[in-house]
Symmetry: C2
Subunit: 87 residues, 2 copies
């Protein structure tokens, strides 16, 4: 499945969270990631994220879609992307 | 159409951007919004956003899907939402 992941995490934990998410997904903006991921890998990512997060103040939202083609992406302004590193 | 909008905007401009996006969409996290919007209203929103943004440093990403049912949303941790205000 294809997912978009966005987090809002306290400054102290944000570095760990960034590192974790980049292992599973492509980084596309400050706290936004996207990518194709299996159900098993997503569960793994969520469990690891929950260990980093403070449940009383941090937030993680995951949008899932079965097919990437159901989502159109438009970027305005600066484009920051991990994918740039592979070109 | 249903959209998810995420921005990464310089501190000086973030207040204006938040105010603008809340006029058109539901706020669901720090810099993340979602909602049903028409093509015309989205174009209006983008034009207004571009006037606020610094194109050399700010970023705005819009994910569009024709049907909300094609997107599943999962929230982990704290849920911040404009919708709370309407209940």
């Amino acid at each position: 499945m294809y997912i978009i992941l966005v987090y809002d995490i306290g400054e102290k934990r944000v570095g760990k969270m960034l590192k974790l998410c980049r292992k599973y997904l492509n980084w596309i903006q400050n706290s936004v990631f996207e990518g194709e991921i299996s159900e098993v890998k997503l569960t793994e990512l969520k469990l690891k994220a929950m260990k980093i997060m403070d449940p009383d103040s941090d937030s993680l939202i995951i949008f899932k879609t079965r097919q990437e083609k159901w989502l159109d992406k438009e970027i305005i302004g600066v484009e920051r992307s991990d994918i740039d590193n592979f070109i």
